[in-house]
Symmetry: C2
């Protein structure tokens, strides 16, 4: 966990610093061009430069994702969520994915897209955890011969949840928030000792990040330096009892706006799955979005005349545009920085820094831009654009409050911007407790805890009335058999016999190599019951259940030719768990294992290898009972037996995930889905 | 959850205000007496008054606990922990317990014992939750006919975990900390929707508390008023990179000191269980402790000459004693307030407010006093005394640092007092993440989060090397079959057949009333397998498993005489789940149900009532597998079947809890314990 924390933080630092330096250079250049061209009336050149400087990095990032590792697209949070839920998502925790993700997100943020770097950082943490805990890298063909004990699905999953937490800790400087994120979004079985290991990793991660970044910012050793807080320090922001209704209303707005966002993004993603399938078209789409982003920015700067006196606003690259001398364009200052810095501006700019209309127009464009951007084939996070959209309309509410209650000390547009940002993000992702803590830690302010909680809870409630959170929507579109937190309602009268797959492919305790090879070739199942053959094999009887054997175990047996005819006994062959640990996690496929015709008649004794007492269930168990067993113990398959302990069927995650509740405008309906296999 | 939050907070407010007013009156009176007697040299009278004012409330509180509801003794956290773990602790969530607890803790704090009110508040929250969620009170014989759906063990347990969280939220003003406490100490199955319900309740609880207390303090509506923070507001307390080793050392000290505390308290508790059994002796012991507390206080005030100029220290009742005019006794100011206020003083008194020797002596006495006090037959919490002890030695460390690094701005004794307090409490209770968050929320300071985490983790590590946390120690002494987070190590070669109880008492699907009545009278089991009788009942065969029936269900069947001979069919008798919900949770005992001799020959068809598909396990399952099933699904009993689905045994929590790991100085040994049935 120490290593995971440190390396995750270092990766986050690299991304952070690369983005900081890249954006800085880009905006400095653009500012120079704009300043020069305002006088010479050649604004089309800075515009073209802007488009170019957006498109080039974005094309690099997009090409990396599309041609090298498509699974690195998006924020990675849905994929990590699936992984923690117990679903194997191919290639999700490989080093290649990590590299593409880290480089890709740097490119997309420098490319000026409406994206953040936080989601990819969380995914990076997960990859780091999966890699380190195994003590070997298959990509680099290196085995450090350490941590062999952890080469097992459950152990690896525990580490991945720790890595995700370390990622959150590094992304937001929020160690407690990281632990809660990992639990709220991922874990199913709360385990005290695991939790404090995760907590330890997150702490190390935050600590490393603070040490590195405080040195980078020229204040080595000052771990409490406020510049390390992502969203700046909120000072003395008190609130009044009577403001709570306002926060609740803002929560509702956030829920509505988030639900709309999710709905539009859902439609867009369906469209993308159907029509944007060619690789070059995917890259082309990102180019269009990148160019549009620059166009919208330039258009707003040109046509919105929002001049403010210099010196008040702490922006780094103020541009004058058509403003009088000593003034700068407030709109330009929002566009000429990274989205994260814009969030900070909206939170901390003094009252009166922005005009109502420009903020409103900014909100409208940015809402649709970020909706269009999420789901593109680039590595991109959703947190920052949602926060920025929310901060914009939150600031509008703040301005309204200033009009309504002039001269009141507690009316601070920055506070409303924070609440609005929380509401919007909560409406989109539907997290409550972890998001509250993350925002508290990222702003360094505890006083606003209660308002944030109220807002986030309301946003979740309102949003949940319309649709699911964006991550769940994307998981559903990925066709992954993820299991919810609770068994689907209205399912109490569905029994195991209806859910299970049957007839089941079973093996006898001593089985011929030929049958094993054939079954592995023809079937895709991952687990097979081992049975005593029925005494009277007339097709109407079942075999008595003896144990469960996994596909991966059978593959290893075939690979090492652990047959009865070639080995005098098992111990002589030196058959140990080492075979399995060495092969983990990338077992060969059945096609890669050669079985000669002679060997097909040999037999294998499955009894020493199989799991002799796996979890089983009776055929008359109800669906909720099966569900709790899968969810509580993280199972992947369950053998269904009848009263005589004979195998009658198998239930897998997919069988359970078929039953989903269709939730539409508050009404519920249980329906059987056809899971798309992609 | 709204009601639970509000009522828990209101109870907390009552306790708070009663203690505040009571202590205030007591100390005002004592100060007056002392001031008068210093001149007249009659200090023995104020001392006697002090003893009297300690003993009287303590006797009331103690008598309530001893004679009315013994289960209300202590902090209640171990009991709540057992309850959430799935063990039924008798009378733990009754209204009588709540009343005794609330009145008792008020008495013991006013009585000047080394106790806090926080633990009892958490227990109160749990009782409130259990009561409200059922919509009826058996004590008051009122049934509001609401929430009938919740009259079931699992639902009730979920609410109790919410109530405990609301209790923490009310005790420390820490809603997030409350949720984490409830998870770290209680829950086993993390459930997203449950969590955010708990979070909601905690939030409501904090909100209500803040509204009431801000009104009480004369600042209505000011929810962010710093006086609402239990431990006062820490301002601008930054720390330096190089201080972290100091924090780690302090964590070690806390771990050592906590381990010593737990060891002494363990020995003391064993002594109490053996020798202090008579009720009047228990009350007498509390009287002795109360008198000793006053004596120690008076002795320290008399013999320690620690005078400080008035006006610097914000104590409410400064006493002059033998100090010069315009000065006050610093030791007196620590003793003449509640322990909670003393903690606040040690955190916030400016540097130089206390003398090294007086703090050291105070620490020594208070450590042993609080160790002696915990486990007395009074309602008492452990948090505040531990924090106070730790704050004392933490301040000593702070003074040492001032000597070592004179003139450094970051050396603040108050900060070291906080770290010391965290280390000591962490060393005693061994919580990490929840305690970090609670302390962050109770001090309103986020900056010190990282130092607190480092300290608490170190304290836990060091402490765990020596013994278990105090709550786990007490649970073990209570003889409750609680299950840990992980299956005991070294248990992979123990199989179900070794763990299970056998032979099992089973019922046939259609059973005679006589046999049911006899079995219920003679056996104490709570669940019975229902079987088809073996075809050849020669004693060597087992019955085929058909389902599981609970003692409570059988009792209801006998109570309502749902026999085959008196009912034409089940539906005619109007047999519904209502029978069970109405009787829940206090089912009659078998002695309260009359079965006539004629009825003994009637039969009962158990099939419509029994659970036809409970979780079962094969006889060759290993102990860790059984353990995960119990822990993950919260089971109380599990039927063990053989290969032919015949019942060969039953495993209960007690069977599993027998296997504990004896941990002694870092070495581990698996041993079978004999659980004490009390």
């Amino acid at each position: 966990m120490i290593f995971i924390g440190i390396i995750t933080a270092l990766i986050a630092c690299c991304i952070d610093i690369a983005i900081e330096e890249g954006s800085s250079a880009k905006f400095a250049f653009l500012k120079e061009q704009v300043d020069k061209c305002v006088a010479e009336e050649c604004l089309v050149y800075p515009f073209l430069y802007w488009v170019l400087l957006n498109v080039v990095p974005v094309v690099i990032g997009s090409a990396l994702v599309v041609y090298i590792e498509p699974v690195a697209a998006g924020s990675g949070i849905p994929q990590v969520k699936c992984y923690l839920n117990g679903v194997k998502v191919p290639r999700i925790v490989r080093i290649k994915t990590l590299i593409v993700k880290a480089v890709g997100v740097t490119c997309s943020v420098i490319g000026g897209l409406a994206v953040g770097k936080e989601g990819p950082m969380i995914h990076s943490g997960a990859v780091v955890a999966a890699g380190i805990s195994q003590g070997k890298s298959t990509t680099f063909r290196r085995d450090f011969n350490i941590f062999k004990y952890f080469r097992e699905d459950h152990e690896k999953r525990d580490f991945v949840s720790g890595g995700a937490a370390a990622g959150v800790a590094a992304a937001f400087g929020a160690p407690v928030g990281g632990v809660l994120f990992s639990l709220e979004e991922g874990a199913s079985f709360w385990n005290q000792s695991l939790t404090w290991r995760i907590f330890f990793g997150s702490m190390i991660s935050t600590f490393t990040l603070n040490v590195v970044l405080s040195t980078y910012h020229g204040r080595p050793g000052e771990l409490t330096f406020a510049g390390l807080l992502n969203f700046g320090k909120f000072d003395n922001t008190s609130y009044d009892f009577r403001e709570l209704p306002v926060f609740i209303v803002m929560g509702c707005l956030g829920g509505l706006s988030g639900a709309l966002f999710n709905y539009l993004n859902f439609k867009l993603t369906v469209f993308r799955i159907r029509y944007i399938t060619k690789k070059y078209v995917k890259v082309l789409e990102t180019v269009v979005v990148a160019a549009c982003t620059a166009t919208v920015g330039m258009g707003m700067i040109l046509y919105l005349n929002d001049c403010k006196p210099l010196g008040e606003d702490p922006t780094k690259y103020p541009i004058q545009m058509y403003c009088a001398d000593g003034q700068y364009s407030a709109v330009g200052s929002i566009w000429f920085q990274t989205p994260e810095a814009s969030v900070r501006s909206l939170f901390h700019d003094p009252p009166g820094s922005h005009k109502l209309t420009s903020i409103l127009i900014f909100f409208t464009f940015y809402f649709f831009l970020s909706c269009w951007t999420y789901g593109l084939s680039v590595s991109s996070g959703l947190f920052i654009p949602s926060l920025l959209t929310g901060a914009a309309w939150g600031r509008v509410v703040g301005m309204g409050m200033e009009e309504l209650f002039p001269g009141q000390t507690w009316v601070d547009p920055g506070k409303y911007a924070l609440i609005g940002a929380a509401a919007q993000l909560g409406g989109v992702v539907r997290m409550t407790i972890s998001l509250t803590v993350i925002l508290i830690e990222a702003t360094g302010n505890l006083t606003l805890g209660l308002p944030l909680m109220v807002t986030l809870l309301t946003a979740k409630w309102v949003g949940d009335y319309f649709n699911e959170g964006i991550y769940d929507t994307h998981i559903q579109l990925m066709g992954v058999p993820i299991l919810g937190w609770e068994p689907p309602p209205l399912s109490h009268n569905i029994y195991a016999t209806e859910v299970m797959s049957c007839p089941v492919v079973t093996f006898n305790s001593v089985e011929t190599v030929g049958k094993i090879a054939d079954v592995l070739t023809n079937e895709t199942y991952n687990g097979f019951p081992v049975v005593d053959p029925p005494l009277c094999p007339d097709g109407r009887n079942f075999g008595t259940f003896r144990g469960l054997i996994l596909r991966s175990q059978l593959i290893v047996v075939l690979q090492h030719k652990l047959y009865n005819e070639t080995a005098e006994s098992w111990s002589h062959k030196g058959f140990t768990i080492k075979y399995f640990r060495d092969a983990y996690p990338r077992y060969p496929t059945i096609q890669q294992v050669h079985v000669s015709d002679e060997e097909r008649h040999f037999t294998v004794d499955l009894r020493p290898i199989m799991n002799p007492a796996p979890y089983t269930c009776l055929h008359n168990a109800s669906l909720p009972r099966l569900f709790r067993l899968f969810r509580g113990l993280g199972l992947r398959h369950l053998v269904i037996v009848n009263d005589n302990n004979e195998v009658v069927g198998m239930v897998t995650r997919k069988d359970l995930a078929r039953y989903r509740v269709e939730k539409h405008m508050g009404r519920m309906r249980l329906e059987e889905l056809t899971i798309l296999d992609r």
